[in-house]
């Protein structure tokens, strides 16, 4: 009875989280935890479950149809996949229709060649079917799918499959036309992200610093949207907050000096 009244109380999310933690404790430690935290307080604190749900679908799209933003979204999703597949022996699968990934670049975001299996589909419909197969099988630690079109029926099926087998589905929505935002259409994803390139933090010496991304959480289930500026994935797939402006090294000169 007290639990019920607690449920009706305003801090319902906190109580639910506690209950979930208790249930997870009862269920045993053999299974991986159901939430993957980013390890960044500014991010985890604003996400509903304190991180990304494992048995759920997450959508990522580039902020604009430029290739740079597309690559940023790709690396963001690769970093997520790498952290979902962080256990030794775990493997992620990347389902795509047109192969233009560069595997050495993905390895530098954490998805090494021994942890990533590629499946090339003929078209988007087949890619979605393959994603559902991979989810239903349940032996992959993460399923990454890049498609241009996915209607609501398809996303519902995928969301259900992901929830059934407790496998995260990371759906990379690529831009089809310049005027059409891929996140316009509603979908059943737990979180929807929009990733774009941002200027990197200037270095004190000539050269390009660690890449920065503008990370927009457009929609999340049970939480509010927000946007942040984050540093790109390192070789373990971990994001970071850029240092506050007062701690940054003063750039050695103008842009010309940095490009030298």
């Amino acid at each position: 009875m007290s639990a019920l009244s607690n449920l009706l109380s305003p801090d319902r999310a906190r109580v639910l989280a506690e209950l979930r933690a208790q249930v997870a404790g009862v269920e045993g430690e053999g299974r991986p935890p159901n939430v993957l935290p980013f390890g960044i307080e500014a991010l985890d604190g604003r996400l509903a479950g304190g991180g990304l749900d494992r048995p759920a679908m997450h959508e990522v799209a580039a902020a604009s149809p430029t290739l740079g933003d597309d690559a940023a979204a790709t690396l963001f999703i690769a970093g997520l996949g790498a952290r979902f597949a962080g256990r030794p022996g775990a493997s992620a699968v990347w389902i795509l229709t047109q192969f233009d990934l560069y595997a050495p670049g993905l390895e530098q975001s954490g998805l090494g060649p021994d942890r990533l299996l590629y499946v090339q589909a003929r078209d988007d419909v087949m890619a979605l079917a393959l994603a559902e197969d991979a989810l239903r099988d349940g032996s992959f630690a993460a399923v990454i799918t890049e498609v241009k079109v996915a209607d609501q029926t398809a996303t519902r099926r995928l969301q259900l499959a992901a929830a059934d087998r407790s496998t995260p589905l990371l759906l990379l929505r690529r831009w089809r036309r310049a005027a059409r935002d891929p996140l316009d259409m509603p979908s059943l994803a737990a979180t929807r992200w929009r990733i774009g390139c941002a200027p990197s933090v200037p270095l004190s010496h000539p050269g390009v610093g660690r890449a920065c991304w503008s990370v927009d959480l457009v929609r999340q289930r049970g939480g509010k949207p927000f946007s942040l500026l984050l540093e790109a994935c390192d070789d373990q797939g971990r994001l970071a907050l850029p240092p506050p402006a007062r701690l940054r090294a003063a750039a050695a000169g103008g842009a010309a000096a940095r490009a030298a």
Binding site: G68, F76, P88, S139
Partner: protein
């Protein structure tokens, strides 16, 4: 006398001293009839003389086959014939070349042959043993020469050597090798290589040469002079053809199809089309008898997907029992559904790792059930495992669960490969090359490839580097300040580089001096690109200093 001392009867110089025509005629008239010289000996050639040893024409009672080489063998070897019992009498089933040379042909009565040739070696024919030999040879061919081979009729083998002969050094060497192999076994053989099984069949049996190789699109020409029997026709069709005077295949070409089909039967036309390559004639390969197999014959023809799935489940259960008994696992399984109309429907599945898990096999077949066309119904289904591997017992579970046990991906990979195709599931691994587009190699989905060196690399690589225009850069080793790509100008705010990559001179001669200097640049709005310049900026032969965009960093 003319030079050389040559003497020619009837020459003018010789006639002077010789007898006159009238005297000669008088002398001849005095001789008895049997001693009179023929006209030919008198120097006159007004009449054709029959060659005393000429064979009789077939329609006058002579043998159909022309005598083959008898030569030396005939003097030492004893003629040998094999006889079989047809009804109440023994007839010759096969004859050796010596016997053929003596006029003993298959189909002749054995008593007749014994009467003709005194010293005849007669043995009983053993058709079953012959077929067993051919089957063994077909299995040998499947195991050693080509995966697609079968017995052709009662006296031949059909091999699909497409893509197999280069392993033996070409078609000619392959043929010689097969002939030598058969010679060691004590067989003589003739080989024909053609584009269609029909043409190869005809040429191997009727061309008379040990090795015939037919180039594509030469079938019609090569077959034209062969007898109609070379087309594998039924005896009625052969009789009909003989009645209409069609004895060469070439005679059929010019005939209009419809009347020909009415007279010789549709089957004849099909055979002709098959020989000429107008109609497909698939070879049904022999499957080594050791292959595990399960078969279900159905009481009623079935046609629905559910019933087919049920039969597949039953077949898989039967098969798994066989596999367990023999300690094998499936790598490739072939499901053959025999329809009521005699056509076979086949679907195949492949497993990336040997398995005999019934659920997994059923699931892989379930993906492909829609490819079966049941037609009027399926009356029997057969499940064959052409490729299997030893598979021992597997520990399926323990009480003490292992926490960090890696999941077995093989079932998932098979599932994905069943939907997308074998080629579509892969991993990428290191190729030992510094050139970016060559550094990645596809490997199998179950291999564990090695990683790449820690040089900064983009997330996506353009299929071909795209040329940049209006590039402003300091030479030799500064990144560009501005450039234009796909019609849009970019201003660079920061850059790293150069990373110099040399051409691989051992691959192509024009890469001997080639150099690419790679730069990683960040433009104003935060996009990061991977550019390169051809040439090191100092030596002109290293490149023309043009700039390209090759990849995009996140």
């Amino acid at each position: 006398m003319p030079r050389g001392g040559g003497w020619r009867p009837g020459a003018r110089w010789a006639q002077d001293a010789a007898l006159t025509k009238a005297q000669v005629a008088q002398q001849i008239a005095t001789l008895p009839a049997h001693q009179r010289p023929p006209m030919r000996m008198l120097g006159r050639r007004s009449e054709a003389v029959e060659h005393p040893f000429r064979a009789m024409r077939p329609d006058e009672g002579g043998g159909a086959a022309s005598p083959t080489h008898v030569g030396f063998v005939a003097q030492v070897a004893r003629p040998l014939v094999l006889i079989e019992r047809v009804g109440q009498r023994d007839t010759i089933f096969a004859a050796c070349p010596v016997a053929l040379g003596l006029g003993l042909v298959p189909g002749m009565a054995a008593a007749h042959a014994r009467a003709l040739v005194g010293d005849l070696d007669v043995r009983d024919a053993e058709p079953e043993a012959d077929l067993a030999w051919l089957d063994r040879l077909a299995l040998h061919a499947v195991a050693h020469w080509t995966p697609t081979a079968c017995r052709a009729g009662n006296d031949g083998l059909l091999l699909d050597v497409t893509g197999a002969t280069h392993l033996f050094g070409g078609e000619v060497r392959f043929c010689r090798r097969v002939l030598a192999f058969l010679a060691r076994l004590g067989f003589t053989a003739r080989i024909a290589i053609a584009r269609t099984p029909g043409a190869a069949h005809a040429l191997a049996r009727y061309s008379g040469q040990p090795i015939v190789r037919l180039q594509p699109a030469e079938e019609a020409q090569a077959l034209a002079s062969l007898p109609v029997a070379a087309l594998r026709l039924e005896s009625e069709a052969l009789n009909a053809a003989a009645r209409f005077g069609l004895d060469r295949i070439g005679d059929l070409y010019s005939m209009p199809r419809a009347p020909l089909a009415r007279r010789l039967g549709m089957k004849t036309m099909t055979r002709l089309d098959q020989a000429l390559g107008r109609v497909a004639e698939p070879i049904v390969p022999v499957v080594p008898v050791e292959a595990p197999e399960a078969i279900r014959r159905l009481l009623e023809p079935i046609g629905t997907a559910e019933s087919i799935a049920q039969v597949i489940t039953d077949l898989v259960d039967d098969l798994v029992a066989v596999l367990v008994e023999r300690g094998l696992g499936v790598r490739t399984a072939l499901l053959i559904a025999s329809r009521v109309d005699g056509a076979d429907q086949r679907i195949a599945i492949g497993a990336s790792r040997a398995t005999r898990d019934p659920k997994r096999l059923v699931r892989m077949f379930a993906l492909k059930i829609e490819r079966i066309d049941p037609g009027l119904g399926i009356e029997a289904m057969r499940l064959v495992v052409p490729r299997s591997e030893p598979l021992g017992a597997i520990n399926t579970g323990t009480l003490l669960a292992v926490k960090d046990e890696a999941a077995d991906l093989a079932p998932a990979i098979d599932q994905l490969a069943g939907r997308a195709g074998e080629e579509a599931v892969f991993r990428l691994g290191l190729e030992q090359s510094d050139v970016p587009e060559r550094a990645v190699r596809r490997v199998g989905p179950l291999e564990v490839p090695a990683g790449w060196p820690r040089w900064t690399r983009p997330a996506r690589l353009l299929r071909r580097p795209e040329m940049l225009t209006q590039v402003m850069a300091l030479l030799p080793d500064h990144p560009p300040r501005r450039f234009t790509w796909r019609g849009k100008p970019y201003r660079v705010v920061a850059g790293d580089g150069p990373e110099r990559i040399h051409g691989e001179w051992w691959r192509r001669s024009n890469e001997l001096w080639a150099v690419r200097d790679y730069f990683r640049v960040e433009v104003e709005d935060g996009q990061r690109f991977w550019l390169f310049r051809r040439g090191d900026g100092v030596e002109p032969e290293t490149g023309d200093l043009s700039w390209y965009l090759h990849g995009v960093f996140g």
